[in-house]
């Protein structure tokens, strides 16, 4: 019973570079979420996928951030022209469905710690 996995666990990059962060959700979970956690803060919602489509991307801070989930399982968060302010822990979560009831529980991965120098 594997949980949510994320790779890499740590990523150091230089300002202006492009990065990709990967998330493998729990098998069978149709909903997938990305969050960003800055130092000393709670996680902040970025984007939600239901299946292959982005159902809500209202949390993406700007057009440098993009995420895909082409086959409805693995998702990749892509950040172009990284800035020092993008440094944070990026968390991925999945849930059985996006509807109501017990399906609402989101299970989190360990996160990717991104440092932009």
């Amino acid at each position: 019973g594997a949980g949510v996995s994320q790779t890499p666990s740590n990523k150091v990059t230089e300002k202006g570079k492009y990065v990709e962060l990967r998330c493998d959700p729990i098998s069978g979970h149709t909903a997938l979420y990305w969050y960003r956690q800055s130092l000393g803060q709670g996680p902040e919602f970025l984007i939600y996928f239901q299946g292959t489509g982005a159902a809500d991307d209202s949390g993406l801070p700007n057009d440098r951030f993009f995420a895909v989930r082409p086959e409805g399982s693995v998702s990749t968060l892509k950040i172009q022209r990284t800035e020092r302010g993008d440094s944070a822990v990026y968390l991925c979560a999945s849930s059985l469905g996006g509807g109501s009831g017990r399906q609402e529980t989101q299970y989190f991965g360990p996160g990717t710690r991104l440092l932009v120098l």
């Binding site: 529980t105 989190f108 996160g111």
Partner: protein
């Protein structure tokens, strides 16, 4: 939209003492409420959740929380803490219709000392 307030950024307590971590929320619609725990360099783990029904919710590791609609609170309690409970605790809320974002508080660091 929803919001969560965790007024205590840090709560120091001695081992075997009781503890309460406070959480207040704001919402114009009915909500689901959650407590997550985050150990150093790890992801968030669900402690407990309130979806409906009994307002007293029991979770893992001996934690419990009580939903109080009139006071818009969902405080987390444990009667006797252990050193291993030292971690960051996050309260979270979401509206209970359709898709609504999970909104987190800023967290409370529980420091248990011997």
């Amino acid at each position: 939209a929803q919001s969560v307030t965790q007024l205590d950024s840090q709560v120091p307590v001695f081992e075997e003492a009781p503890v309460e971590l406070r959480c207040n929320y704001s919402s114009s619609v009915s909500v689901y409420l959650f407590w997550y725990v985050q150990y150093p360099n790890q992801g968030l783990q669900l402690l407990l959740k309130y979806l409906s029904g009994s307002t007293l919710v029991k979770g893992i590791n001996g934690f419990e929380a009580e939903f109080n609609k009139s006071q818009t609170s969902f405080h987390l309690r444990k009667p006797s803490v252990h050193i291993s409970d030292t971690a960051e605790y996050f309260c979270a809320v979401k509206g209970n219709t359709g898709f609504q974002k999970l909104v987190f508080g800023t967290g409370t660091r529980l420091l248990v000392s011997p």
